[in-house]
């Protein structure tokens, strides 16, 4: 319990340095100024027509920490904000295009856009109104009106409302723009025709065009006509005396199968404010070119500092095969190589030694060449470090003091590791070597004499490859070390002890009763438990008068104690054919002064054995006295 209390006490101790807090018991707080700042930054995105930024910012509102009462207001702000941003971006896109058309007196086109703007404007105004309402609800919750003028919250709220007013003004700008139809009513309409030949041709080929510009049935002379190809200006020509225009152009090297072509007249100079602009019907030109499918594959594993071989193939289908064309190889958008490539090509690029292992983008690009469209393909190249393998040869057993022979070979899938640094560590011993050109190494590591005897020791081998493409490696191998010097010393000690100790023990056990015999009480070495057991036996023996009772108070017992002592001293044992008296006489000769006591004790025992029980108490006391005398005399003798 003491241990438990001692170890459990730190339950109340301080936490780790990180000072984390229990989220369940954390106090809830709300930053009103942070919410208003968030509104303000969201409105900034709208004012700047940044739809992506606005959407990303507003999408986070579900994760804001706001009071439950403001959930509806913030949610509405976010949803209406995203929709309003989209509307605003679209409306101003239309408005800008409409203005371009008006500048060109393309009032019909401008009128179409104007209608779109006026149709969509109310929706945007409604969305802005809802945004304003959400902000107003937030202001009500925050009691903005009742806050003092020096409150930090009030200026931020006013700033938000000012931005709402700014957005409202932007919508007003759209709604108050003049209608293009009003302009059109005061101008003279014009018309334009266009024809091309051929309609289908290859890129780079010549195309003829012609048309007529007229107004109210009369040709317009010396007017500039713009030819639009794929909605971009291609060229300008002037009408002749009959209002006709014509010419040729080289089809640009735009590898698009279908391109719209249109003629455009818009009033310039004296025509401004007199005529309306005119566009011809849109014609579609079919463009022919040769396209090739480029495929790429990598032939080997990409390692830092090594060359990676790329194989590419152009598939031209039914088109004529281009035998040579320029190509560029990009690695992660950086130009690596420029070369001429055949329809099937192999090209190597050497990767930098510092390139980060992982995925990299290889792009092969062949620019357009006449009728041949550009071709490009990309390949995700996985740059890896080659796994270093080591065949390590270390003997299973090592001797101390001595050295351990360590050899091995380092290799990877990229070949042997030449000149790699190998650091071998055994305990506190370190040795650094370098591998040969074939990746092999062979060395000895010395092990000094220590206090150890034998056991398993780890040998760590750290490999630092010279080449950037090989991965470093750390490997550990165990060896059974035998400290034979210490073992021999221990063995010698054991042998000495093995010879010395038994004799010593023997003498010790033999001498112990004698030494303890001096005080009379010490001649009773047997534990009481033994006597108790013996008493149980003796109780049974009481039933048989022939079997003498063997207790501390028996002659038989004292004879046994003395007999053991005598046998230890004289080394003479009671032989089977000997009587007690014969043995007593034999032993007493060797015993010296104690002999007579032993002989007397023998006679007492004979009397106990062959006489009639019960034994006289004086005999028992005498036998004890004799045993003590024997020990005393024997002790003097030894």
């Amino acid at each position: 319990m003491v241990t438990l209390l001692g170890t459990a006490a730190p339950v109340l101790a301080s936490d780790a340095p990180g000072t984390q807090q229990d989220p369940q018991s954390a106090q809830e707080t709300f930053s009103s100024i942070a919410l208003l700042n968030y509104y303000s930054s969201s409105l900034d995105y709208m004012i700047q027509f940044d739809q992506t930024g606005s959407d990303a910012n507003l999408a986070k509102i579900p994760f804001a920490n706001v009071p439950q009462e403001l959930n509806a207001a913030t949610g509405d702000f976010a949803s209406n904000g995203m929709e309003f941003t989209a509307s605003l971006v679209n409306l101003f896109g239309l408005w800008n295009q409409q203005n371009t058309y008006i500048q060109q007196y393309r009032l019909n086109d401008a009128a179409a856009l104007y209608k779109q703007i006026t149709d969509q404007l109310p929706v945007a105004q409604q969305q802005l109104s809802q945004i304003e309402s959400s902000i107003a609800d937030t202001g009500t919750y925050l009691n903005i009106d009742s806050l003092p003028s020096d409150s930090g919250l009030k200026p931020v709220f006013d700033e938000v409302m000012a931005k709402i007013q700014q957005l409202s003004g932007m919508l007003n700008l759209l709604s108050h723009s003049p209608s293009p139809a009003q302009l059109a009513a005061s101008l003279t309409p014009t018309a334009l025709t266009l024809a091309i030949d051929p309609v289908t041709t290859y890129v780079g080929d010549k195309v003829s065009f012609k048309g007529v510009l007229f107004s109210q049935g009369k040709p317009l002379l010396e007017r500039e006509i713009t030819l639009l190809l794929n909605n971009a200006d291609l060229l300008t020509v002037h009408t002749d005396a009959q209002g006709q225009f014509q010419g040729t152009f080289q089809l640009p090297y735009l590898y698009i199968h279908q391109m719209p072509i249109q003629a455009l007249y818009y009033p310039q100079g004296n025509d401004t404010g007199v005529y309306l602009a005119a566009t011809s019907p849109v014609l579609t030109m079919t463009v022919l070119f040769y396209a090739a499918q480029l495929t790429l594959q990598m032939n080997n594993t990409a390692y830092p500092g090594k060359e990676v071989m790329l194989t590419g193939k152009f598939d031209y289908g039914d088109a004529p095969v281009l035998q040579q064309r320029m190509a560029e190889i990009y690695l992660d958008n950086n130009l690596e190589e420029q070369f001429n490539m055949a329809p099937v090509f192999n090209q190597g690029i050497t990767l930098g030694t510092q390139i980060t292992p992982g995925k990299h983008l290889i792009t092969v690009s062949a620019p357009a060449d006449g009728r041949y469209a550009p071709a490009m393909t990309s390949y995700i190249m996985n740059v890896t470090l080659a796994t270093t393998n080591m065949d390590l040869h270390v003997s299973f057993i090592g001797l101390i003091p001595g050295s351990i022979q360590i050899s091995g070979k380092l290799y990877s899938s990229a070949g042997p590791l030449a000149n790699a640094t190998v650091v071998i560590s055994e305990g506190k011993t370190n040795k650094q070597i370098t591998t040969a050109t074939d990746g092999t190494f062979n060395t000895k590591i010395g092990i000094g004499l220590g206090l150890s005897l034998l056991g398993i020791q780890g040998i760590t081998v750290q490999v630092r490859p010279q080449e950037s493409w090989n991965a470093p490696l750390t490997s550990t191998k165990t060896i059974f070390l035998i400290n034979y010097v210490n073992l021999i010393l221990i063995l010698i000690v054991f042998v000495v002890l093995a010879v010395y100790l038994p004799r010593r023990f023997k003498k010790w056990f033999a001498a112990q009763p004698v030494k303890k015999a001096r005080p009379p009480g010490l001649v009773l070495p047997l534990p009481s438990a033994v006597y108790q057991n013996k008493n149980e036996i003796s109780l049974k023996r009481k039933e048989s008068p022939e079997k003498p009772e063997e207790t501390v108070n028996s002659v038989f017992y004292w004879y046994r104690v003395s007999l053991k002592l005598v046998q230890n001293i004289t080394k003479a044992i009671l032989k089977p054919h000997q009587t007690l008296r014969e043995y007593g006489k034999e032993a007493s000769q060797a015993l010296g002064p104690a002999g007579k006591y032993f002989l007397e004790l023998t006679y007492l025992l004979e009397k106990r054995i062959y006489g009639k029980p019960p034994t006289d108490a004086s005999d028992i006391e005498k036998s004890q006295q004799l045993a003590i005398q024997i020990q005393k005399e024997a002790g003097r003798g030894s």
Binding site: T3, G18, D22, P23, S41
Partner: protein, 290 residues
């Protein structure tokens, strides 16, 4: 007999009594990592020296609340360079020594990262909502920090997650944004390649705690980091750099003792010792009884 009973009762109490220390696997309270340990079958390592030598597809999670020694830095670098993945989660800055040692330019700021708007309950639990495309593609929308910090010196190509624009580093630690205190977004998670392995840096270790701050994708984000390259063979937790109570120390020692005792060689030695003692006792008894 009483002493033996007390010893065994104490040992059992140490073994089964749960830890209350932060980031301890046996701690089932809010600041423990019991759930995380079970989910990923995390193995504790008590020192970087115990890291596997060939750690391909092994993940080591390190929460340094105690500085690293130079030897430990060597071991950790080797673990990563040999193909392991290190997820270093730090909010106090001791992990910067690893970056300095390995040449990674990123640093843990150690200044508290607060977000007054996008948070769980209060500004000390900032919510992280901006991730790279790969992270977002795995379904992660938001994670929540608990008294975390930010990373500095991270290029955008290495970043994995950012705090919101409303977040700031509370340099004077007064809980409010003052003039001069840097405003977000800040990088809070990044990934670097090192040798054949990778190092992920997260500026808050509380992501793996039992008590997540609100309903968020903390677990999914940790799972993404662990499984980003491939399913790991082993997930290891460096327990040696966590602050420990005496109970934790006792638990660790007890685990070590159990490990030693369960060793077959040790068991053989114990059996031999018991045999020698019994033999000696019988011999002595024989000598005395005669």
């Amino acid at each position: 007999m009483v002493i033996i009973l007390v010893v065994f009762a104490s040992l059992a109490a140490i073994w089964y009594y749960p830890s209350a220390q932060a980031f301890m696997a046996s701690n089932k309270m809010w600041n423990g990592i019991n759930k995380f340990s079970k989910q990923f079958n995390v193995q504790n390592v008590n020192a970087p020296n115990g890291l596997p030598a060939a750690p391909k597809q092994d993940v080591l999670i390190a929460i340094p609340y105690i500085p690293y020694t130079s030897d430990e830095l060597i071991q950790m670098q080797q673990f990563v360079e040999n193909g392991g993945k290190l997820i270093l989660m730090d909010d106090v800055g001791y992990g910067n020594s690893f970056m300095e040692y390995t040449g990674i330019p990123a640093r843990f700021s150690s200044i508290p990262l607060l977000d007054p708007l996008f948070n769980y309950k209060n500004e000390y639990f900032p919510r992280i909502m901006d991730f790279t495309a790969n992270v977002t593609a795995s379904g992660i929308k938001v994670i929540a920090f608990n008294h975390g910090t930010a990373l500095s010196g991270v290029s955008s190509s290495q970043a994995l997650a950012w705090s919101s624009k409303m977040s700031f580093l509370d340099s004077n630690q007064n809980g409010n944004r003052d003039n001069g205190e840097p405003q977000g977004p800040f990088v809070v998670a990044a990934e670097y390649m090192l040798g054949a392995g990778t190092v992920d840096l997260i500026s808050d270790p509380s992501l793996i705690m039992n008590a997540a701050a609100g309903s968020n994708d903390n677990d999914a984000f940790v799972k993404y980091l662990i499984n980003a390259n491939s399913k790991p063979t082993t997930v290891l937790l460096d327990r040696s750099h966590l602050t420990k109570s005496p109970l934790d120390t006792s638990k660790i020692k007890l685990e070590n003792v159990r490990g030693i005792i369960s060793n077959p060689d040790t068991l053989l030695g114990i059996v031999a010792l018991v045999f020698v003692i019994i033999t000696w006792y019988i011999y002595r008894r024989g000598q005395l009884i005669g």
